[in-house]
């Protein structure tokens, strides 16, 4: 199941949800958090994570903060006000999608 293509379309929603819960996070932290939460079932690849973050940033959903950590600069992402609203919308969409999939996969048969 690991790295299933099924997750691909939901990557930005996963990122938004994590940032909503954690406040601010950096790229590496996001990959590790997802791995930890899904017990290694889902691995966000580096090649997919950063493009998704940069796209969300360009859309105005994420804001960036930079801090010097150890001997290098670290870029933190956090939700903007618009990002917070969009998270609610996207989560609602995703939940609706999950419900529809459940109905499709486990239809409740009725006797007429």
């Amino acid at each position: 199941m690991a790295n299933s293509k099924l997750y691909k379309g939901s990557l930005s929603t996963i990122i938004l949800k994590l940032l909503d819960e954690e406040g601010k996070m950096y790229g590496y932290e996001i990959t590790q958090k997802v791995k930890q939460l899904t017990k290694g079932e889902l691995k966000i690849t580096e090649g997919a994570l950063y493009p998704a973050l940069h796209k969300l940033e360009a859309e105005g959903l994420l804001d960036v903060e930079v801090a010097k950590v150890d001997n290098r600069l670290r870029k933190y992402y956090k939700l903007t006000e618009q990002g917070e609203k969009e998270t609610v919308n996207r989560l609602a969409e995703l939940e609706e999608f999950i419900r529809s999939m459940e109905t499709l996969l486990n239809p409740k048969w009725k006797l007429l």
Partner: protein, 234 residues
């Protein structure tokens, strides 16, 4: 046991490594270097016997067969979007009432001139000429700005877009093709067609002034606004 960290020399090596893999802009480099450094440190946590080079190789492989290419490509697309938003912001700021009157006046004047008896027969050639002159001027300006950019030791993606006039040269070629098409349809012989093309010339000049002079003059300010790391680096 104390956590083993990537040292300053190794950070420099990581910068050279990402640069050698076609990541030339500092804003993209900073993020990738931190990511690689963290991955290496995490490996040292579990496998302290691994060398820096071995760990780096493992981390780089996680980016897939295309390496950093996709990250750079998508970052450029995202930054282009950001540039267009900046251009839009400055266009809106520029449109004060006196400037609107100035633009309307210029459109109307060009419309009258092109529609006059003397020039009406060669209006197509004049319009093509005007766009060609604008494209040539933009090309010279781009060369001039590029020279300035090449002298800088650190490059930022947005800075490169600004100094490249945000692909103005590619955009300005579009009306020349459209003009040819419009002429063959006879649209230039209608009043509305001529008015529309007069407006397109004026808008193109305005966009040129914005992208070639106004935005580059504010480059430092914009970089500091878009990149929180800009002030930390300088």
């Amino acid at each position: 046991m104390e956590k083993r960290l990537v040292n300053q020399n190794q950070i420099e090596t990581l910068h050279s490594f990402v640069r050698s893999h076609y990541v030339e802009h500092l804003d993209v480099q900073i993020e990738l270097v931190d990511h690689l450094a963290q991955g290496i440190e995490a490996q040292w946590n579990g496998y302290p016997e691994r060398s820096f080079e071995q760990c780096l190789e493992i981390e780089f492989k996680k980016f897939g067969v295309f390496g950093f290419m996709e990250v750079v490509e998508k970052k450029t697309a995202a930054m282009n979007k950001r540039y267009r938003r900046l251009l839009w912001r400055y266009t809106n700021e520029w449109f004060s009432i006196p400037n609107i009157i100035l633009v309307m006046g210029a459109i109307f004047l060009l419309y009258i001139v092109l529609g006059s008896e003397i020039l009406n027969a060669i209006k197509f050639e004049i319009l093509v000429g005007l766009f060609m002159v604008l494209a040539s001027v933009a090309l010279i300006r781009t060369f001039h700005l590029k020279k300035q950019l090449n002298n800088k030791p650190k490059k930022w993606l947005l800075e490169e877009l600004i100094f490249n006039l945000g692909a103005y040269l590619q955009v300005i070629l579009l009306p020349i093709h459209l003009l040819n098409f419009n002429n063959s349809l006879g649209l230039l012989d209608t009043n509305w067609g001529l008015l529309l093309w007069s407006a397109l010339v004026v808008v193109s000049v305005l966009l040129y002034i914005l992208s070639a002079y106004i935005i580059p003059a504010k480059a430092e300010e914009l970089l500091a606004e878009v990149y929180p790391e800009y002030k930390l680096v300088y």
